[in-house]
Each structure stands twice: as structure tokens, then as C-alpha cells.
């Protein structure tokens, strides 16, 4: 089970990296980045996974007895943070992409920026 999780998240990571490397459209690159982020989040949680584990939430005295069966809560906490960071990155980059599109009339990452000269 843990292997499945890790492999699927690594495949997402690789597909995302492939997209970031090869796509020209900025929105596509951002989608690829998001896929990578999803992949890394899955990977982190998968690192904390325990075979046949249970949710790290206490519901009664029994679950306190079963602490050893719980999955690791720390990676989950980290992933909570990293999801929000991903949202922030996406929002900021999208705004920049819109501005980029307005300035360059193109969404291609290769849109030329030959603008030398007066620049204080």
C-alpha cells in the first residue's frame, strides 16, 4: 500500500517536472507546477503512512491505546502548510501571467523581452 502511494506520487512529480520543462504556455507551466505540488504533498504524506494505520485523531480511550497504529501526524501538518503555499504561488503567478499576457500579447514563456535603454 505504501509503495503504491509513493510510486503514484513520484509519477505525478515526474509528470509535473516534465511539463514544467517542456511546456511553453505559462498557464500550462503553472498547471504542471501544481501537479508537482500535488505530487510532493502526496509523497510527504506517504512518507508518514503506516501499513493499516488509523487516522491520528483521538475519539475515545481506545484510540489512545492505539497510538502505535496511527499514521504520522507531522508530515500531514507540513503538507497542510505546503498546500496553502501552493495556492499562494499559483495565485501570484497567475496574476503575473495575466499581466505578462497584457504586456507581451502572448502567453509563451519565450515572448521576447528585448527592451533595452532608459531604465531608472
Amino acid at each position: 500500500m505504501a509503495q503504491l502511494f509513493i510510486l503514484s506520487s513520484i509519477s505525478l512529480l515526474f509528470i509535473g517536472l516534465f511539463g514544467v520543462l517542456t511546456r511553453k504556455n505559462i498557464v500550462k507551466i503553472l498547471i504542471a507546477l501544481n501537479i508537482m505540488e500535488t505530487g510532493i504533498n502526496l509523497l510527504l504524506v506517504a512518507f508518514g503512512y503506516v501499513e493499516n494505520g488509523i487516522v491520528p485523531i483521538l475519539t475515545s480511550n481506545e484510540s489512545i491505546m492505539n497510538l502505535t497504529k496511527m499514521v504520522d501526524p507531522v508530515p500531514q501538518a507540513l503538507v497542510l502548510t505546503s498546500i496553502v503555499i501552493g495556492l499562494g504561488t499559483t495565485a501570484f503567478s497567475l496574476a503575473l501571467a495575466i499581466r505578462y499576457r497584457y504586456n507581451h500579447n502572448s502567453l509563451s514563456i519565450r515572448a521576447s523581452e528585448e527592451e533595452e535603454g532608459v531604465n531608472i
Binding site: K28, I57, L58, D72, V74, A91, Y102
Partner: protein, 247 residues
């Protein structure tokens, strides 16, 4: 977006990926001594063990359901996020603040006409909004007991604002959002400073002696979560306003 070098770059990218993949495979198959990345290390061998046993301060201490502990949140993830590693979470809030600030700063503000919403949406919007607010409120209030917490709660609350915007109802002004955002942010740190004044430590959970499993337990955690939820909601609502408000 076709490009003449497209194929070349694809091949290069695949090559890079395959080398990285092969390297990771090789590392995982390594037979040297020491801890490997494929080794199964249970949470009991990590720092998480102390978090689950809630005995970071006093070793060997045990706790029971309905009793007190150093941290009385039933949801251990929440206790890590909002107590043991609270500083990370506040920074995360700041990250969202900065990015949304940048978003509002960078996005081009051009006049755009708003399509008139349908009557049904306009009529039903308040009900939906209240529903969303309630769900969100429930989430952050119960963040220490059940899954959820401040971030999704904030997202859901912000959906209420989104519905309002889509339905053409003026709910909040951007100025109000800014104030909510700043007040929530400042109060998070004010709580930190308050705990510094009271206990001498920053961001210490200084409300003690409540019991695990109660609604009003876990000390400051629900308060922090509430602040975070409002802050996130205000920030996300800002995004919708940027897209859908006439400027």
C-alpha cells in the same frame, strides 16, 4: 504553442527525468550500511511519537480521554499544526498574505462588464451564503476535534463571499476585507505577544486545565483557527473581488 525545438526539448526532458528516476531507483536499491530512504521507520522512532503521546515537556507522562494533558486537542494533526509547530502555521498565513497582496498588486485592473445574474441565484444566494458560513464556522470551531481546521474553513467562508459576488449582491467592500485581514493577522501575533507577557514564551498555549474531547478544549487552538479562517477567507475573497468587481 508549437515550437520548432519542441521535440528536442521533449527528448532532453525525458532524458533528464530518466536519469533522475534511475538515480532514485539506484539509491533505493543501495545496500550500504545506515538508514536508507526505503527503510520503514514508524512514527514511534520520530519526533511524532512525543506529539502523539503528548509528553514533550514531561517524559513518561500518560493521558486519558477526557483528561488533561500538555495539549488537549483531540486531533493530533491540529495539535501539531496549531500548537507544537504554531510558528510554521503563522508563517504560512503570512505567505498567503504576501502572495495575495502581490496578486492584487500585479493583476491588471481593467473595466469589465458584469453579466447580470439570474433571478434564482440572486434569490437563493443569501441562503447559500449562510449555509457556507455555518459549515465554515463549524469547521474551525471543531478543528481540534475533527478533521478540518482553519484553512478549509476559510476557503469555505470565502465561497460565501464568492456566491455573493456572483449573485450581484454587495456583501463586503474591499476596504472591510483589508481591515479583517489585518486585524486577524495582528491578533494572531498579539496573542503570541500576550503569551510572551503571561508565560515568557512566544505562542505558548496559556489556557490550561481543559479536557481532551470537550468542545471548549485545546486552549487557544480554536481561537487561532478562527483567526486563521477569517484571515484566509478575507484574503481569498480579495481574489474574487479582483476578478469580478468593477474597478
Amino acid at each position: 504553442m508549437r515550437d520548432e525545438r519542441s521535440l528536442f526539448i521533449n527528448i532532453v526532458a525525458l532524458l533528464i527525468l530518466s536519469v533522475i528516476g534511475f538515480y532514485i531507483y539506484k539509491v533505493s536499491m543501495d545496500t550500504g550500511k545506515g538508514i536508507k530512504i526505503t527503510d520503514n521507520i514508524t512514527p514511534q522512532m520520530r519526533v511524532a511519537d512525543r506529539f502523539m503521546n503528548k509528553n514533550v515537556i514531561k517524559e513518561e507522562s500518560k493521558y486519558v480521554w477526557g483528561g488533561t494533558a500538555e495539549n488537549t486537542s483531540a486531533n493530533i494533526v491540529t495539535s501539531v499544526v496549531v500548537d507544537y509547530r504554531l510558528f510554521d502555521t503563522t508563517l504560512e498565513v503570512i505567505v498567503l498574505f504576501v502572495t495575495i497582496l502581490g496578486f492584487g498588486f500585479v493583476i491588471p485592473k481593467d473595466k469589465r462588464k458584469i453579466i447580470k445574474p439570474t433571478t434564482i441565484l440572486n434569490r437563493w444566494a443569501p441562503i447559500l451564503m449562510i449555509l457556507m458560513l455555518m459549515i465554515g464556522g463549524y469547521m474551525f470551531v471543531n478543528g481540534h476535534l475533527s478533521p478540518g481546521g482553519g484553512f478549509p474553513a476559510g476557503a469555505i467562508i470565502s465561497t460565501a463571499v464568492l456566491i455573493g459576488v456572483l449573485a450581484g449582491r454587495k456583501t463586503l467592500s474591499q476596504k472591510t476585507l483589508k481591515i479583517i485581514e489585518a486585524v486577524a493577522g495582528i491578533s494572531i501575533f498579539s496573542l503570541g505577544i500576550a503569551s510572551f507577557v503571561i508565560t515568557g514564551n512566544f505562542f505558548q498555549n496559556f489556557i490550561l486545565n481543559d479536557r481532551i474531547g470537550d468542545l471548549f478544549s485545546a486552549g487557544l487552538i480554536p481561537i487561532f483557527y478562527g483567526l486563521i479562517a477569517f484571515k484566509v477567507a478575507a484574503e481569498l475573497s480579495n481574489i474574487y473581488f479582483e476578478f469580478y468587481e468593477e474597478c
